[in-house]
Amino acid sequence: MRNDLQNMMTRRALFSRTAGGLGLAALQSLGASLPGIPHFAPKAKRIIFLHQSGGPSQHDLFDWKPKLDAKRGIDLPDSIRMGQRITGMTSGQSTLPVAPTIFKFSQHGEAGSWFSDLVPHIAGIADDITLVRTVHTDAINHDPAITFIQTGSQQPGRPSLGSWVSYGLGSENENLPAFVVLLSQASGLNTDQPLFSRLWSSGFLPSNYQGVKFRSSGDPVLYLSDPPGIDRETRRRMLDSLKTLNGMRSEIFGDPEIETRISQYEMAYRMQTSVPELMDLSTEPESVFDLYGPDARKPGSYASQCLLARRLAERGVRFIQLYKRGWDQHAELPRDLRLQAQAVDQPSAALVTDLKQRGMLDDTLVVWGGEFGRTVYCQGRLTDANYGRDHHPRCFTMWFAGGGLKRGAVIGETDDFGYNIVQDPIHIHDIQATLLRCLGVDHKRLTYRFQGRDFRLTDVHGNVVDKMLA
């Protein structure tokens, strides 16, 4: 596929040409990445970010606190809360009763990491992942928190992680976008938290760096299909006319934008083939469906999206951003967390295993985690079988696989309440810096001037987490 096209003008970032003169834009479009990038030898070529929207409960999945069973129902001690702010949803509660998990935990992998029985498959790849229990964030509600992890700022307006990466590194595939977004709806029963197009927006970067949604129903890319009544030959005939006519105009005006437009129409035409081919899972063998689970045959399921993510990675897509909605368990946590985990556990692990089997895990970095964690105390009434948890920004668990990170490592330690970090605090900006580092990019040097300032993903913060690097 990569030999199909030799049009160097369109090599970079698929959607790559910004009007306004040849200047740097043209220079950039000739190479695969910005001048000077990579800053380091890259370990990863691409990232698959499995964002678990809503904030999965680390208490019930990854960060076991066996001593809490004895403290069930007691009010969270002030010595632990230390006056930290809590959301408007629980700040009015008369008590903050400690709610130990009701799920069983067991040890897995050589490091003996603890996983709950909701995630047996993820537990099964313990030796392939870096488990970080001490990620923390600045925001306490969904909108600012998810905007923060995706763009480095709680308030809207900044480019997303994927936009920064496609801006800095460009694309490896001329027929697909450098930055693809996949959405998967909730599996729990309570209302999902919404998502926002700003999460994959290019912010102040030129808009060609924004993520392109690949959809599970309707056109896989908006407007991809020829309209009813236009078949492929007709389309080709129209495009041929268009190409010739635009070419004539180009001779008169000498504006390089016209040549660019001609090549973009040709790329659009190729996408009409390459995208459906990519989305068509029917060519995958039975063994693959066994690996990802039966849901993988259902379009839009998290399992099918994970499989698509692998197919995108195979085709050189630089940044694959998947959102799984539905992790916001304020109430009915035992019921809904189980449903979420059922949908997510096997496919997440399968993706890592699949990449590993194909030899792609070395240069693909898989990220798994939400925008914050959940509180140790119960929101609403605590009963033996039922509880809910509020948002908790002060510590939560994420895990990573491949792409230059340690395998089988556990990093960070939280206190006995799983409320505060005892060792190795890792801030969202540190995660962002580390992800860029794996791609060979110095987060301090990937900048864009906007409103007189050189902005970067990590603002003025962020340290690469050496402990995570292999």
Binding site: G23, T191, S207, L222, R237, N246, I252, G254, M267
Partner: protein, 1004 residues
């Protein structure tokens, strides 16, 4: 992108630099700012080595001691400044600084902080070329660069250019003909005057201002439900159309409410500062968002009127411009005075807002208010409170009537279980998932959906049933089954919007092979009581104790699918009579409420109980009075849903105290500040009030260096793609030095002395010879000036998103030219909102496409949902409007090709254009198409090519009637019956090619 900025600056100033005379403002200050100020600039807290280079005293010290040159040329890398890791100087830059020092190091303040100088246009060699002042400045620079201006664009191209620029629409075929026929020297000027007078002018001018003002139809942030700011948007259009001078345009938007006896439109104008996003995320902290709103106002006002980026100073002193953190919070204090809430907007506009009734609505409001006041006064005099209390006490001792249990098959109260409490042991069981018990209409209810289902054996073959249902808006808009028995299905449709912020659904009962539907929608969201008699020949449905009209429809019940909550379900083997239904819908809930301590009753429960008392325990006259009041309240509520509103600014009686916030965090208030303006700019004019009105007066004061420059620069950008200062949102240290500084000052001065006449300024620009040049380029010119900053040729660039769609609508004859009104929802692929939306009771989560005329309104009327902006426009770089945008990207992507080729909007427009070509084009459809869409005739080679495509395509469609039918069914517009359909289909492919041409989406 550092290199890009620096590169283009250097390229253009190369000539000047080789002349050896260093210009501090142009050559040195930008360098110091970019490479030195971060550590040696205005930010006191982070200033290194106690050295500052942004003031003359500071710089002088470093120069006189010889340190400056020594450090920038130090042979040891470790001692060289600036540190290589941050901002190393290139050798030519070092030379520039050395030359500057050698020339005595003259120092000036930043150029844009000095007021514009009144300058006469310079003399030029080729004095036959200039048409007005602009041309003298442009040509003078071209002559210095050794360049010549291009010849005037041909007349058709020029007409198309100026029409697109001033109205956002292409010229019509008639307008083109008229202009080409009018050979008089004043022909062009007449066109310009005509365009400036057309209503489309205001619409075109409004678009960049809507970006700047971050105008949208939803609140943004998390839930992103509807708001209503279109009255403000219409005010903007109108202000441009009647040429409201810029000083008023500015003052009304910033402080219309503070003017003496403000008019309605002056108040609406203040919506400029309410267009920011507003949050209503559950659990969010109000104080945090109150700060964000005010910060947004400061940033937007600064960018729009001052051309300064103050945002940095939110957290610390600005690194490049002399804006201290304190200055930021003094600006903040101007806007921290609105009586608003931190979390608001869940039901449309957030307070404060203005009700905007039309005359007849106002008359109704007046009548209702007076009637309600009278009735309430009467009620107050009646001693009702005492009566009600006594009644309630009396009820406590009374035995409670029960409903007639005869024929009762089963009764599910859903109070935490699926038990049948009728005594018939028809207990339900869970068949799937774990259904949740939720707060019900009475006690608890049960929440069901496809993943959590129950089997209720009592439902089997009932003859009648009664239950409470609660349905939220569902994202997929699917009908939901409520109950399914052996011989019936009771269901509800996916609903539709009812006016603003409400949705409603119709109920359906399918039985005996027929389906009966309620004639009107019931508002969904709250609990609704329904009772159904299945008796033949026709069933009866009661909603909230009122029998409703049914329509017999020919539609089967949909496949079973459920997402609803149910409560207090009773099933009977016999029919229910109205008295029983009233008992179940009214009496029984009132009895339940009586059992709840008064303080714990919800508002709904209290109101229902009050009505129950009036109906059952109050004297006849008061019962009548209560019914009358209720109907007046209903009428008033209904009217309030009809009356548009618009959010406005207002001053609190006691404004909030403003504190400097450490690191910009709402939790870290430190020093208290009062409203004020940055100290490096002129002070507030003498006598100006210390509020937003004073701020407006300050911006307009004669010695203000920025206001007029920033405004004319923005106008310039509309015509030439770039402003004279390319960084129009940043006139500060880090902004670009103007490519034509004297021209900028001349325009600014002209603008002010004209009485801030906006139309006159547009006319000056488009009447210039510079604007009228041909946009054809040569390789040499491209090499020398790729971005066309010097204007040795006319502007040529892709149209803005709105103009692309509007042009297609206009040339196809579909355009609906109606100005103003609520926003519309034209074609949009399914799922764009629903994929990411919050599926509950909020508005703007489910997309409902409009039909008919609304599909063809100009694009600035397209409903703008911030978290999922209209994709057809966003693909062409329209911003999401979350934040103030002063410049859009201008990209060229394959996704744009897909939109123009495949979006229903454009396929339909091609179809309509093709029909026009056949009908109005007579013998030469192609010529008509070119003329209408491109304002020119096809060339020979173009004719040949498209004739061939037409022939080939016609041959295909003649043998492919299904294809013809499919193509001609894109979009809702009807195909003229008289046309040959295969020919029309073939012409449609030609029209589509025309609308896809680079030229069609480009201003040439």
């Amino acid at each position: 992108m550092k290199y890009l900025l620096a590169g283009s600056l250097l390229a253009l100033s190369a000539t000047a630099q080789t002349a050896a005379k260093i210009d501090f403002i142009r050559d040195v200050r930008p360098l110091l700012s970019d490479r030195c100020f971060a550590c040696h600039g205005p930010d006191e807290a982070h200033r290194m080595a106690n050295l500052r280079l942004d003031t003359e005293d500071g710089a002088r010290a470093a120069i006189d001691s010889g340190k400056l040159v020594a450090r920038i040329t130090h042979e040891k890398k470790a001692l060289r400044m600036p540190p290589p890791s941050t901002a190393e100087l290139t050798p030519p830059q070092v030379k520039t600084l050395q030359a500057w020092v050698a020339q005595g190091a003259p120092f000036k303040t930043h150029w844009s902080f000095d007021p514009p100088k009144a300058i006469d246009p310079p003399a030029v060699k080729n004095d036959s070329w200039p048409d007005n002042g602009i041309d003298h400045f442009i040509l003078s620079r071209l002559e210095k660069e050794g360049l010549k201006p291009s010849p005037q664009a041909d007349r058709a191209t020029l007409l198309r250019r100026v029409t697109l620029d001033l109205t956002g629409l292409p010229p019509s075929s008639n307008e083109l003909g008229a202009f080409l026929r009018d050979k008089s020297p004043a022909a062009y000027e007449r066109v310009v005057d005509r365009l400036l007078a057309s209503p489309a002018y205001g619409e075109r001018m409004a678009v960049p201002w809507l970006d700047m003002a971050r105008y949208a139809d939803t609140h943004g942030y998390h839930i992103d439900s509807s708001r209503e700011m279109w009255p403000w948007r219409d005010w903007v259009i109108d202000a441009f159309n009647r040429n409201l001078p810029y000083d008023k345009f500015l003052t009304w938007q910033l402080a219309g409410d503070l003017l003496p006896n403000p008019t309605r439109e002056q108040l609406i104008a203040t919506g400029f500062n309410r267009n920011h996003m507003i949050n209503y995320e559950g659990g969010a902290i109000p104080e945090e968002y109150l700060v964000e709103y005010v910060v947004d106002r400061v940033e937007t006002t600064s960018t729009a009127f001052l051309g300064l980026t103050t945002g940095c100073a939110r957290c610390h002193d600005h690194k490049y411009d002399p804006i201290r953190q304190k200055d930021f919070y003094r600006m903040f204090a101007f806007f921290n005075t609105v009586s608003e809430k931190g979390l608001d907007g869940q039901k449309g506009n957030a307070r404060p807002f203005l009700m905007l009734p039309d005359e007849s609505q106002q008359a109704q409001v007046d009548r209702l208010s007076s009637d309600i006041a009278k009735a309430e006064a009467e009620m107050d005099r009646s001693g009702i409170t005492g009566l009600r209390k006594a009644w309630e006490e009396e009820q406590a001792d009374k035995p409670r009537p029960r409903s007639d249990a005869s024929g009762l098959i089963a009764h599910y109260s859903f109070d935490g279980s699926l038990e049948d409490i009728s005594g018939h042991y028809q207990h339900g069981r869970i068949t799937k998932g774990e259904p949740g018990f939720v707060a019900g209409a009475d006690g608890q209810g049960i929440a069901l959906d496809e993943r959590s289902l129950v089997d209720l054996p009592g439902v089997g073959d009932a003859a009648a049933f009664a239950l409470w249902t609660k349905v939220s808006a569902r994202l997929d808009n699917r009908p939901s089954t409520l109950l399914q028995g052996a011989s019936f299905t009771f269901w509800i449709d996916g609903g539709r919007a009812i006016g603003r912020n409400r949705r409603g659904s119709r109920f359906y009962i399918s039985t005996g092979g027929r389906t009966y539907r309620t004639k009107t929608e019931t508002v969904t969201g709250p609990w609704v009581h329904t009772a159904v008699n299945l008796s033949q020949p026709q069933p009866a449905i009661y909603i909230n104790n009122a029998r409703v009209e049914l329509t017999d429809i020919d539609e089967a019940a949909p496949e079973r699918w459920i997402r609803a909550s149910l409560d207090d379900l009773r099933l009977y083997s016999r029919g229910l009579d109205p008295a029983e239904i009233e008992f179940l819908a009214v009496t029984q809930p009132a009895q339940s409420t009586l059992r709840i301590p008064a303080k714990q009753r919800s508002t709904d429960q209290r109101l229902a109980l009050l009505d129950f008392f009036f109906e059952n325990g109050a004297p006849q006259d008061l019962r009548t009075l209560n019914r009358r009041l209720n109907s007046l309240y209903d009428e008033r509520d209904e009217l309030q849903y009809q009356i548009p509103t618009s959010m406005v600014m207002s001053e609190m009686a006691i404004p909030r105290e403003t504190k400097i916030l450490g690191r910009g965090d709402y939790r870290n208030g430190t020093e208290t500040v009062t409203p004020g303006v940055p100290s490096f700019l002129p002070p507030l004019p003498a006598g100006a009030p210390q509020n937003r009105l004073g701020l407006a007066q300050w911006l307009l004061s004669p010695d203000h260096p920025l206001t007029a420059r920033v405004a004319v620069n923005r106008f310039w950008q509309m015509y030439f793609g770039h402003g004279i200062v390319k960084t129009g949102e940043d006139f500060g240290s880090q902004g670009e030095f103007p490519v034509h500084p004297e021209l900028l000052d001349w325009l600014a001065t002209e603008f002010r002395t004209s009485g801030w006449d906006i139309k006159a300024m547009q006319k000056t620009i488009v009447m210039s010879a510079a604007y009228r040049q041909s946009s054809r380029s040569t390789p040499a010119l491209l090499e020398k000036d790729p971005e066309n900053r010097l204007l040795a040729r006319g502007p040529r660039f892709r149209l803005p998103a709105e103009a692309i769609r509007d042009s297609a609508l206009a040339s196809s004859g579909l355009l609906n030219a109606k100005v103003g009104g609520p926003s519309v929802n034209p074609y949009q692929p399914k799922g764009v909102w629903e994929d990411i939306a919050y599926g509950d009771t909020f508005s703007s989560q489910i997309f409902e496409q409009d039909h008919g005329d609304a599909l063809y309104r100009r694009s600035l009327y397209t409903f703008w949902k911030r978290t999922a902006p209209p994709p057809g426009l966003a693909t062409f770089d329209a911003p999401d409007r979350e934040k103030c945008t002063g410049r859009r990207s201008l990209t060229n992507t394959p996704l744009q090709a897909l939109v123009l080729l495949n979006d229903t909007t454009y396929v339909e427009a091609s179809r309509a254009l093709a029909a026009r070509m056949m009908i109005e084009g007579g013998k030469d459809p192609l010529a008509f198409g070119f003329r209408t869409a491109l304002s020119r005739a096809p060339q020979r080679a173009e004719r040949d090519l498209l004739a061939r495509q037409y022939r080939d395509q016609l041959a295909v469609y003649r043998n492919f009637p299904e294809g013809v039918d499919r193509l001609l069914s894109n979009g809702e517009i009807e195909t003229p019956k008289e046309l040959n359909r295969a020919q029309l289909a073939a012409w449609t492919t030609i029209a589509s090619v025309i609308l896809n041409l680079d030229e069609a989406v480009t201003k040439e």
